[in-house]
Each structure stands twice: as C-alpha cells, then as structure tokens.
Amino acid sequence: MLSPQLNLYFIVALSFLVALVLSVYPLPMDMRWWRPEFVLVVAIYWIFFMPLTVSFTLLCALGLFQDLLEGVPFGQHSLGLVIVAYICILSYQRVRNFSIWRQSGWIFVLVGIAQLTDNWVQGMAGRPLSGVQFLYPALTSALLWPACYWWLNGMTHRYHH
C-alpha cells in the first residue's frame, strides 16, 4: 500500500494522462470544435481542491507537452494554463463553496479565457478565426465539469484519505 501522498500524486498523474489521451482522441473533422479542454478542466479541478499539489512549473511542462502532442505552436496551451491557474489560485476559496452548476459557469469563463489566448496564438500562426466557434469548447467543458468533479472527487476520497 502506498502512502496517501504518493497515492495522490499517482491519481494526479493518471488524471492528466487520461485527459491528454482524450484531448487527441480522433473526432470527425467538423466535430472538433466541440471537444472540451480536458487537460485544462482537470488542471482547474486540482487547483481548486488541492491547490498545493500542482506547481506552475509542472503546468508549464504539461502545456508544452500538449502543444507537442497537438502539433500547435509551442507555448499556446502553457500560456492558457498558466493564466487560468493564476486566476484559480486567487479565487479557489470562494469557488469551493459554490454549487456545482455555479462552478460550471465559472469553468465556462475560465476555459473561455484560455480559448482566447489559444486563438491569439493561432491567429499569429496564420490561422485567423471569425465567429464565436472558439467558445464551443468552453461550453462543452462547462457541461463536463460535474462529471469531472464527480470522478476526481471520488478517486481522491477513495484512495487518498
């Protein structure tokens, strides 16, 4: 039996790994706008509920790996992750007391901010975007939040305590 702390690290690593796999799971070309930002949502969960587990350095590294994985310019996802993580660190004490759907609304805003930086980078890379499609992932991420909360909360309570 591993110590609780090691167990926690294992759960965190596993959750990020699952999120990374889901973030490249092949979807039909036209459906790709609706893919939630899995990695970002999982990162937000850990910052909200275990603020000291995931460091900013780790988030940067994770973002860079996601950039590599998705073949987008280096720094795109880490930029979004770090900005959102900072907002989360400032606000986690309040957000923890929200009801689950109110948290979802908050997730919508956070992922929306990350999408904004994503699209700045994509625009600089020569793929400008028109319309509000870039908010679709924010919407699906917000809808995913309760499921993510339920899964990760269950995992932590079963194996960490």
Binding site: L20, V21, S23, V24, Y25, P26, L27, P28, M29, D30, R32, W33, R35, C60, F65, L68, L69, E70, G71, V72, P73, F74, G75, Q76, S78, L79, V82, V121, Q122, M124, A125, G126, R127, L129, Q133
Partner: protein
C-alpha cells in the same frame, strides 16, 4: 511563455527540439487508434460466410472491369511514350508509392493535419506528397521515427500549383480552412475555366509530382468589379474519410533515402504501382 510563442512562430529555432520530441507523442496516437483497430478486427473476424462470398464476387467483378481498363492503358502508355519521343520531350518517370495508414487527426480545429503510421524508418521525408485513392491529399510536414504529420491541401496555410486538365491553364489552389473547398488565387477575368473542370497538379513547385488529380471546379464567379475571378474547387481526395494513404516516392527520392532500403521487399514491391502512367490516361 509569450517569448516562447513568439520565438516558436517567427524563427525556426525550436524546430530541432520538436523533431527530437516528436517520437514521444506517437504512443498517444497509437492508444487513441485502438478503438478503430478493434472495430476493424471485429469487422474482419465476425463476418458471415455469405457476406464474404458476396464481397468476393463484387471484388471479382470490379477487378474484371479494372483489368479491361488496364489493357487499354498499356497501349496508351506506349503510345504516350512514342509521342513524347516524337516531341523530344523527357519521359514521364513512374513514381513508386508506399501505403500508409492514418492513425490520428490533429485535434486543433483550425488546422487540417493528420498523423500517419510511417516515419523516417520507412523513408518518409519532409515535403513528401501524399495521395489517397482519389487524388492528392497533402504533404508530409513533420517526420518522426515511426509516424509523421501530413498537412492537408485544405489547410488555410497550404497552397499547391495546379493546372486545368482540359487546357493547361495554370493556377495556384489555396486551402480555405474548409474541408470541401479550395480557392484559386489570382485567376484573371478572361481565363478559360468553368465549373466541372478537373484541376491536376502541375509539378511547377517541384514538390508535388505532375498529373495527379487535385480538385474539381465547383463554381466560377465573374464579378466585373473585381480584377480576378472567384473560383471555388472541391478536393478530389476524400480528406476526412480515407484511412489508407499513399506516400509518393519519385524515383530519385527513393534511391537517395537510405532508410528506404530497410523496407521489406514484399512490402515495398506489392504497393508499387505505375501511378504516373495511370493518371496520364485516366485524366479524362
């Protein structure tokens, strides 16, 4: 972070790093490919005898039809060679191809890229043209050891030199970011081009081989107020459906790639076709 983004976008200093790390991402695409592999396996394994027989018959009929076409092809190819000799033109090189399988699709909705299961080990190289059974699909832009990334012709950063098959008018077909349309750039208003024209690769960029079908013109809009025509074309290749792609080696490439020798003989021999010859006569 911002510095990193800017350096990555405006210089190519991070390219070597990306190439080195490219191998690390392959397992992820292999994992996400498992469900479709299982599905393929299920389709292959749990299939009734009757269905197989039916399919077999259909394939035999198809083979017969293709063989008939092929009979003509031989004489047409020979005739082509004779005519070219009369014209003192250089001979068409026959390209060899290697079959590759699609293992992933780029998750970024703004870019049209796919990941295939061939890499530098199989002789794939940067800039290599990629086809499917129906036409040109794109080119290899990143090569890992066992996988590489292909940029599709519909990506908004991609452009390919083409010519109209009917009369040889040259143009540049640009991706629009929409899977089903390419647009032709700077076509002057009196150009002879109409809906239904087949666009084939012209080979002028020295990247794509000559004569592969690229797109079919869907719509030509002549607006007197504009200096150029608006021409929309639909890619011939099934960009979002094909799972089996062909990597094209022009003969000189194949000889100069050391890794190509390590391809097993049977594998290299079986997919080798005279694609160039078929596109000459098959060009309608």
């Amino acid at each position: 972070m911002v510095v990193l983004v800017v350096v990555g976008l405006y210089t190519d200093r991070l390219e070597p790093l990306r190439e080195k790390l490219a191998q690390a991402v392959t397992p992820f695409y292999q994992i996400t490919d498992v469900p479709s592999r299982v599905n393929d396996w299920r389709k292959d394994t749990f299939v009734s005898h009757a269905d197989l027989k039916l399919e077999n018959e259909a394939l035999k009929t198809e083979l017969l039809i293709h063989q008939r076409k092929l009979q003509q092809l031989a004489s047409l190819a020979a005739e082509n060679v004779r005519l070219r000799q009369l014209l003192n033109a250089s001979q068409m090189l026959q390209d060899t191809v290697l079959i590759a399988e699609l293992i992933g699709v780029s998750p970024n909705p703004l870019s049209h890229k796919v990941i295939i299961n061939r890499g530098s080990k199989d002789g794939a190289f940067k800039g290599q043209p990629v086809l499917d059974a129906f036409g040109l699909m794109g080119q290899v832009i990143e090569v890992g050891e066992t996988s590489s990334t292909v940029l599709l012709i519909s990506d908004s950063t991609h452009a390919i030199p083409v010519q109209v098959n009917r009369n040889g008018v040259r143009a540049i077909a640009e991706g629009t970011g929409d899977l089903n349309s390419l647009s032709l750039r700077h076509v002057s208003a009196n150009t002879d081009i109409r809906a239904g024209d087949l666009l084939v690769s012209s080979g002028l960029g020295e990247r794509f081989p000559t004569g592969y079908p690229v797109a079919e013109v869907l719509q030509v809009v002549r607006d007197p107020g504009k200096a150029f025509l608006t021409v929309i074309a639909q890619p011939m290749a099934r960009l979002d459906r094909s799972r089996h792609l062909l990597l094209v080696f022009e003969n000189r490439d194949r000889a100069s790639v050391p890794g190509a020798l390590s391809v097993p003989a049977a594998e290299a021999a079986s997919p080798t076709t005279s694609a160039a010859a078929s596109s000459v006569s098959g060009g309608r």
